[in-house]
């Protein structure tokens, strides 16, 4: 599975990529929404795993843009702040359904979620 990890914290992005690669996925990391869009258009990933709170374009805006070109791309968002749920709800009101995970995300939960295919929001 082609996966792009988006997080402004390099350590998180890098460790996640390493975990995903260990499970046999093709994963790369980017640190902001803009480069996520760039790489998505080149790679046509199956899955985007993105932080929500980021400088510049936030995770949801990034996700919406990617869906415009890749409507079938799966999006999993994760956030360390509960206020993100407000932003997510607004997106839902606009018709977007994103899967959400709360930081810190247990890597095993993330992996099983990816394996299960489409799944509802999971609470750790």
């Amino acid at each position: 599975m082609k996966i792009i990890v988006v997080d402004d914290e390099p350590l998180i992005a890098q460790t996640l990529v390493e975990i995903l690669r260990g499970e046999g996925h093709h994963a790369i990391s980017v640190s902001n929404g803009k480069s996520a869009l760039e790489w998505a258009s080149r790679l046509s990933p199956d899955l985007i795993v993105s932080d929500i709170i980021m400088p510049g374009m936030n995770g949801i805006e990034t996700a919406k843009e990617i869906l415009k070109c890749l409507p079938n791309c799966r999006i999993i968002l994760f956030s360390g702040q509960m206020s993100s749920t407000d932003i997510l709800e607004r997106a839902q009101a606009e018709g977007y359904l994103f899967e959400l995970l709360a930081k810190p995300v247990n890597p095993e939960v993330l992996l099983s979620m990816i394996d299960r295919g489409l799944a509802g929001p999971d609470e750790p």
């Binding site: 402004d8 914290e9 350590l11 998180i12 460790t15 996640l16 390493e18 975990i19 260990g22 709170i53 980021m54 400088p55 994760f78 360390g80 702040q81 509960m82 206020s83 407000d86 709360a102 930081k103 810190p104 995300v105 247990n106 890597p107 095993e108």
Partner: protein
């Protein structure tokens, strides 16, 4: 006696005896027929005239020698006989020859008595004469003396002079001085000749009174003057007495008072007219008064009584300026100058009422001149400008408002003595009016706040107002009441400050709401902090979780595991540091402590480091390292944190955050040293209409994340520490942005003792715009 001479009596002895008596009588006696023929004459009479009875019996009485003094006397006798024959008793004084020795006539008191017969007809006439010559001479002597006295009097006086008989029946002499007619010889009809018929009765009454009391006669009455017109005289007469105290005559003077009386009459008439006008003037609400040239009140209307409280009787004759303690707007001399030049003056005067109250009146003076153009009197009308009545109405209305006010309304004088105390003050503080009036206001001030009162009185004396001064007062029960005081100076009509009016509002409820709000904001702040903390902690935790997963996965590769775990340790240290700072954030102290502001700022910046970085905000820090204040550390941290987050929120697209700490002095009181913290952003700035509401609770421009309480809380904290806040903001050009400054005194105790001046809205905030 008739019978004695009829000769018809049988009693001869009786007749003889009667004849003896008849002849022996000393006075002259005779018997006549009704026609006047002589029947008998006694010896005394015969001897006086040198007659013998035979010579004259049967002849008419008037032909006898006695009566030959003059023909007039004989004619007078004939007339008397005619009257007596018709039954009349006649008596008069007359001069007759009665002394055989000389040719001098004697004066006799002569009478003729008719004697009637049984039929009732007059049958005889009985003449009788008594020699009164000596008495007459004495009288004449007295008269002569009186005449002399009179002449002296005439010479000495320019008035009318007169002599009256003792019983006032005869006017003996009068020198009329061309005022009234002269009388040279005795006049018994003087009353008709001289006195106006309407006055005769009062004149007679006054004469009777004077005769009875033997005292001076004095009366003003009307007289007929020489030319026949009526005049007025003041007549005075003194009784002249002999040695026995009998009145021998009256000596009088009469002065011509016609002119005076006419003037008085004219005055009376004009007074009557004036009285009529006075009645009209009494209808006026203005004070109308008339004063003479010496400023003495001659007229005082009812309006004057109502305005000044003095009755007409009390005011009459008083000098107005003394009575009313007039205070003039310009020197009285200048007023009088103008009055005599223009005939009128108007202006404002201050008068003092009988009850001591001072009133301002609009006064209008008019000078009235007499016929010769000389100033005669001044008419003054005064209308009360202070509009006492209206003022009283207004006062009543005000009193009703004060009575029913939900606020305690109290007035006190400049010594802090309570002068009024409304019902709400009674309810709020538990003291009744009776308990408080005249007492010092300090009764309701907690002892530790006595200095408040000095500060308040000081400001009041300078004419300053105090608005919404929040403090504490003590009720009678000892309960402490949070109050908001508004105090204004009370001025008298001259603008002098005489006391203070104080409105106290019970703000305990208000305080409770405020406290609730603060708690809410604390919770909100905690929430915001939690969000920040969550982000700052969850990120490293995410990294640690991932690293541990990788360490487990790579377990056989000890080197890799070591790398993962080292990284995890570093991340956990970051978590620990943030947790420590966050806990410090909420460890609030109950007492102020010395705190280093630079360190506080650094801790906060550490917390927001990530956010600054993420938002591309450049930090410029210019801080003295050792700035310390004594304060509630948690609160100061919150205040600074609020300003920092505001600044960061103001720059969503990046900018420069400048943080500065300087040692300085309070900018409105150089005696208070302290620290100034400035936090400036280069954001869009605050528009003037927002600036006005900035410190109101629930005002926010950040609908998503703001509670609208941040700046309100911050201001509260700064106030509490005796500090000040200043705001500069610009919204245009290159220099847009906002700078908040907080001044904190080194020691808040010291600062609170010298309270800051508050701005019009009562907030310790000043704003300044550096660019528009």
């Amino acid at each position: 006696m008739g019978r004695l001479f009829t000769g018809r009596s049988d009693d001869v002895e009786h007749e003889r005896l009667a004849a003896v008596i008849f002849d022996g009588m000393y006075q002259f006696v005779a018997l006549l027929t009704p026609k006047g023929d002589i029947l008998e004459v006694n010896r005394a009479a015969l001897e006086g005239a040198g007659h013998r009875i035979e010579e004259i019996r049967g002849k008419p009485f008037w032909t006898a020698r006695w009566w030959q003094v003059s023909e007039e006397i004989q004619e007078q006798l004939k007339a008397a006989i005619r009257r007596a024959a018709s039954g009349e008793f006649v008596r008069y004084e007359v001069q007759v020859y009665g002394e055989k020795s000389g040719l001098n006539p004697i004066t006799v008191d002569f009478s003729l008595q008719p004697i009637r017969g049984e039929s009732g007809e007059v049958e005889y006439l009985l003449p009788e004469g008594r020699n009164i010559t000596e008495r007459k001479e004495a009288e004449n002597e007295a008269d002569r003396q009186g005449e002399e006295r009179f002449r002296a009097f005439v010479a000495a006086s320019s008035d009318v002079v007169y002599r009256m008989s003792p019983d006032w029946t005869t006017l003996r002499h009068l020198v009329g001085r061309r005022f009234i007619a002269d009388t040279q010889s005795p006049d018994q009809s003087w009353l008709e000749h001289y006195i106006h018929p309407e006055d005769q009765q009062v004149v007679m009454a006054a004469i009777q009174q004077a005769i009875q009391t033997k005292s001076t006669f004095e009366l003003e009455h009307r007289v007929f003057r020489v030319d026949g017109t009526l005049g007025w005289t003041l007549s005075r007469a003194t009784p002249m007495m002999d040695d026995q105290g009998n009145i021998v005559e009256w000596l009088g003077t009469a002065s011509d008072v016609t002119a005076r009386k006419q003037a008085q009459e004219k005055l009376r008439k004009s007074l009557e007219k004036l009285n009529e006008q006075a009645l009209l003037l009494d209808l006026s609400n203005d004070a109308v008064l008339v004063r003479d040239q010496e400023d003495r009140v001659t007229y005082w209307n009812r309006g004057a009584t109502e305005i000044y409280g003095y009755t007409r009787e009390e005011a009459a004759g008083r000098v107005t300026h003394e009575l009313l303690r007039t205070e003039f707007p310009e020197p009285l001399e200048r007023i009088q100058e103008k009055l005599s030049r223009d005939g009128r003056w108007s202006g404002e005067l201050i008068h003092t009422r009988k009850d001591g109250g001072r009133i301002i009146v609009g006064s209008c003076w008019a000078l009235e001149r007499d016929g010769k153009g000389k100033a005669a009197r001044i008419l003054e009308t005064n209308n009360e400008i202070t509009q006492r009545k209206q003022a009283e109405d207004a006062l009543r209305r005000l009193a009703a408002i004060v009575e029913s006010s939900e606020d305690a309304i109290v007035s006190k004088d400049l010594n802090g003595i309570v002068r009024s105390w409304n019902p709400q003050a009674e309810r709020m503080f538990g003291y009744t009016v009776e308990e408080m009036i005249g007492q010092p206001i300090t009764i309701i001030i907690p002892p530790e706040l006595y200095s408040d009162e000095e500060m308040i009185l000081g400001k009041i004396k300078n004419g300053q107002k105090i608005d919404h001064f929040e403090t504490v007062r003590v009720a009678k029960s000892g309960e402490r009441i949070d109050v908001s005081l508004s105090i204004s100076p009370v001025k008298d009509e001259r603008g002098r400050i005489v006391g203070a009016a104080k409105i106290a509002r019970d703000i305990r409820e208000h305080r409770r709401i405020e406290r609730a709000l603060r708690t809410t904001e604390k919770l909100a702040a905690a929430g915001r902090l939690a969000a920040t903390v969550a982000h700052e902690i969850n990120n490293p935790l995410e990294a640690v979780t991932n690293l541990i997963y990788l360490a487990k996965r790579d377990l056989p590769d000890a080197d890799r595991v070591a790398i993962h775990l080292n990284m995890a340790t570093q991340e956990l240290e970051r978590v620990a540091h943030i947790a420590r700072q966050t806990l410090g954030f909420y460890r609030d102290t109950t007492a102020p402590i010395r705190m280093n502001l630079d360190k506080t700022l650094n801790d906060l910046l550490l917390l927001y480091e990530k956010r600054l970085e993420v938002r591309n905000i450049r930090l410029v820090k210019q801080c003295v390292p050792d700035a310390e204040v004594k304060a509630f550390a948690g609160e100061i941290r919150q205040a600074i944190s609020n300003l920092l987050t505001n600044s960061m929120d103001a720059m969503p697209a990046g900018g420069t955050l400048t943080v500065r700490i300087r040692r300085t002095h309070k900018w409105n009181n150089f005696d208070v040293p302290g620290v100034r913290i400035t936090i400036a952003d280069t954001g869009t700035g605050i528009t003037p209409e927002h600036r006005r509401n900035l410190f109101q609770p629930f005002f926010t421009t950040k609908a998503d994340v703001g509670t609208g309480l941040g700046l309100w809380i911050t201001r509260g904290i700064v106030d509490k520490h005796g500090g000040l806040m200043q705001l500069k903001s610009g919204t245009g050009g290159n220099r847009h942005g906002t700078a908040f400054s907080i001044f904190l005194p080194f020691d808040r105790e010291q600062a609170v003792q010298s309270p800051s001046t508050q701005d019009a809205s009562g907030r310790k905030v000043s704003t300044e715009v550096f660019t528009q």
